[in-house]
Symmetry: C2
């Protein structure tokens, strides 16, 4: 991708762009692609099979897995295919980790905060953790393998809004105007002859053909609006009622919608995306079933990890567990606080990644006004408010009730909301959403539930950020004695379940090869 000339600058530039569009995961991925980050396993994954042992006349091994989140469950699931004797220790009252779907009857507790009783109606759910899956991600393979029905998740919606600097405009309108003016500018520059030395006549013709199409330009290459912007009343028997004319180029640039309309350009966020039918926790449920719920000890907080020549010993609040190997599939900042004998480098490495605050609120409404009145079926409204996003549901369209994600924010905004009581979070989210949707946003709210991941016991963060490219990352991709580390935080898919799964697969591969090689 990058050649010699000016590669360093180019690389940095790329990372800036990617970080903005796709978050930390995308940035690390790009670092890998550019050769700036360590490379790991990149062959196809081969699941361990029972035959791997029986054909060799060997016995499998016992493995204690710390954490029954997606990484831990995936590791247990894959190892189980070859008959490994796995035990999962989970400090929380139930498995799943950040893959958490809330429904009526659930109770949410938080550090330093009052508990919330979830009152959502029948069939209404709130994916408080991950909510969408890109089609290239291994997560979909697990959905297929585990028989979890999936459906389309609408991540980009031309009818959703962009709310920036107190102005609300439909995404389609913002896009048409920005593309229109960009096309006009470049087309007029081309017409003026300024590109004659850069481009041949044929190339200029091709460029202009594209720009006319891209910006819906007139014959003099002006942008003066386009039906792509949408309508006050869409065409029917008549031709419809157009919106007000677009602002000037200057107004459109000043509107600052550029970030919002490029949000789905990254490979992690591109259309289409997917979700399990009925809630993301179907993945947890099916993994648990496949692993065997009797193998998962909940309420078991790990207090000490000891690697030895012939095995591992894990002390936890319910006793001490011995096994041949250990997979530590906890968040690094949680793991960092557990005494161990894995060495000072591991201690230091575990303390390197920084937890990122993340929060979400689910708002249940008695009527799907966003479908009926706004004609928004799924998708995301992008804002520069502290709620950051509003997600509209991509399922059960036309149902009576429905649930919006009223904020999904990270960093300082997540800390701000996290510090509020659940009631105040809701009040603030409704006040912000009203700026976009008007008074109806505060009406007909049947229930709500919010989560501050950085205040979730034993999790303490939405995900982690590596402050810089760091050898800790590769150090922890390798086992320390008989202890392996797993989690999205050790991959280039941070904050994605696919990262947890890929990490688990890599650890399972390494562990299994070691067991097969061992005498």
């Amino acid at each position: 991708m990058a050649d010699g000339k000016g590669a360093a600058l180019t690389r940095r530039g790329l990372l800036v762009g990617i970080g903005a569009a796709g978050g930390a995961g995308a940035m690390y991925a790009a670092m890998g692609a550019l050769g700036l980050a360590p490379t790991g396993q990149d062959k196809e994954f081969t699941p361990p099979r029972a035959g791997d042992f029986t054909l060799r006349g060997k016995a499998s091994a016992s493995v204690v897995i710390l954490g029954a989140g997606v990484a831990g469950l995936t590791a247990a699931y894959e190892l189980g295919k070859a008959g490994y004797d796995c035990t999962l220790l989970e400090a929380r009252p139930k498995a799943g980790g950040r893959n958490l779907t809330l429904r009526g009857g659930d109770r949410v507790t938080e550090l330093n905060g009052p508990p919330q009783e979830v009152t959502f109606g029948e069939g209404v759910y709130f994916n408080a953790g991950p909510g969408r899956i890109a089609p290239w991600m291994v997560t979909l393979d697990y959905c297929r393998e585990l028989g979890i029905p999936i459906e389309t998740f609408v991540n980009s919606n031309a009818a959703a809004y962009v709310h920036v600097e107190n102005r609300t405009v439909r995404a389609r309108t913002a896009r048409a105007d920005m593309y229109g003016y960009v096309a006009e500018l470049l087309a007029k520059v081309t017409d003026s002859g300024a590109l004659n030395r850069t481009l041949t006549r044929d190339d200029r013709e091709r460029l202009l053909e594209f720009l006319r199409r891209f910006g819906d330009l007139g014959p003099k290459h002006e942008y003066e609006g386009s039906p792509r912007r949408g309508f006050e009343k869409f065409p029917a028997v008549d031709g419809g009622t157009p919106l007000d004319a677009p602002g000037t180029l200057r107004q459109v640039l000043a509107a600052g919608t550029g970030r919002a309309i490029t949000n789905d350009f990254g490979y992690e966020q591109a259309t289409p995306m997917f979700q399990p039918v009925g809630g993301m926790d179907a993945i947890v449920t099916r993994l648990q079933e496949a692993v065997g719920t009797d193998r998962i000890k909940t309420g078991a907080k790990v207090t000490k990890i000891t690697t030895m020549d012939d095995g591992v010993e894990v002390a936890h609040t319910g006793g001490v567990l011995k096994a041949d190997y250990c997979i530590a599939a906890l968040p690094p900042h949680v793991l960092a606080k557990i005494p161990h004998n894995l060495g000072a480098q591991v201690t230091s490495a575990l303390a390197t990644p920084v937890p990122v605050a993340a929060g979400k609120i689910g708002l249940e409404y008695g009527i799907r006004w966003w479908e009926r009145e706004d004609r928004i079926y799924g998708g995301v409204t992008e804002t520069d408010l502290d709620i950051t996003h509003i997600w509209y549901p991509s399922h059960d369209y036309h149902a009576e009730r429905g649930l919006l994600v009223g904020y999904y924010n990270t960093g300082p905004e997540a800390e701000l909301y996290g510090a509020l009581t659940p009631e105040d979070r809701r009040r603030r989210a409704l006040t912000q959403g009203k700026k976009i949707h008007g008074e109806k946003y505060r009406q007909n709210v049947l229930g709500s539930a919010s989560i501050a991941w950085h205040r979730q016991e034993h999790i303490l963060g939405g995900w982690v950020r590596w402050p810089s490219f760091d050898p800790s990352f590769t150090l922890l991709q390798r086992p320390a004695g008989r202890v392996y580390f797993a989690g999205d935080w050790l991959t280039h898919l941070i904050a994605w379940q696919a990262g947890a799964m890929e990490s688990a697969r890599a650890v399972v591969t390494g562990l299994h090869q070691r067991v097969l090689r061992s005498p």
Copy 2:
């Protein structure tokens, strides 16, 4: 939208752009928006109610409806709400018109061609007519009202391909490269000072900020590729394996992917779109149930229409029907051949719109290789081949079998395929698709069914094109005596079911007001 200066040119330019992106419907809509097309009813539709008569002490009327397609069924459904006595005459063996979903056990007959026996497996269906619904369309309101579950239809997929001039590239790659180079060109022009007289310093900064984001540019504003292009192997534990570097600006322009990557810019095709769960004909089924199947006489070909002072008389192959009013909801070119006493202007107007050929093939595969191997879940591959498009299914993801739309073409390409036998259509479609997907495209094909709408008896076209803005259009929006005309062809939503429904609503409104006014 358009101001005085150069408005005529601007309008024409807009129409060229719109026609290319959105088809005839979009062009007419734009004509309406620009004041070039006649305006019709644009108020909210109020369905007739039983109380409209009982409260006035009046009787409702009898209406004979010609054609039980979506327009005819919608008219009967709405009139039925007020107790009108409707009878539908349908020449074909079943209702629905172009809203046709084929399943195993169905039989497709064509003019001048052998019949096809459809052999698709359980649960597999092929929407041979309309296949997608935009969220602003009235079609969704009918889905809600009639209790028809809907799901997302993926119309745009970054993972689908663009196949132009014998090169196949993922849509995400084509888009990243084109946007990257466009951004680079305009950013460098801006850097050179060439826009200093057009834009203020602030505006230039804002423009550059957008362009960096839009094109994923480096700090010197070069485009040298981007993770947005996709990967040979996507990031996981490692950073992934990048694709080959992008071509030069010149190569990217020459690749000709511009049309394909702007295909979803129009308001008719924008993401997201929707479909009824289980097949588009759910709309027909539910409308029929609501209307009462006993009111629909199939196999009844209309042979004469006579309007009189006190009613209408419609002769058909099964007899003669008298009613107070008639709604002629047949294609205009079919209607044009039926003797009537509605006057020469009507005859001439009905002969004005030109039928457009349209064809589709459904290819059923024993394995969803597009999901497993290509990671394409729904969406459309755009091509410059005579198949024009390939549609991947947006439903039953991960099922064993699946059905692709192997071509959906119009005009000369549809005529070409329509002239072939079903077996030759299939062979040709497979040969073309192989150019994109390789040999697997011709393997595991379990069954196929194709349709040439211009060869469907009593329909004779995919839709119509009005050769120019024409007073015939408005003439036929008004009744001729006691005969009303309805269909998508009388709206600005040609080729969409929403057009048929909107037209039916307009006619129902006019007819009902007349009945209420009549002594």
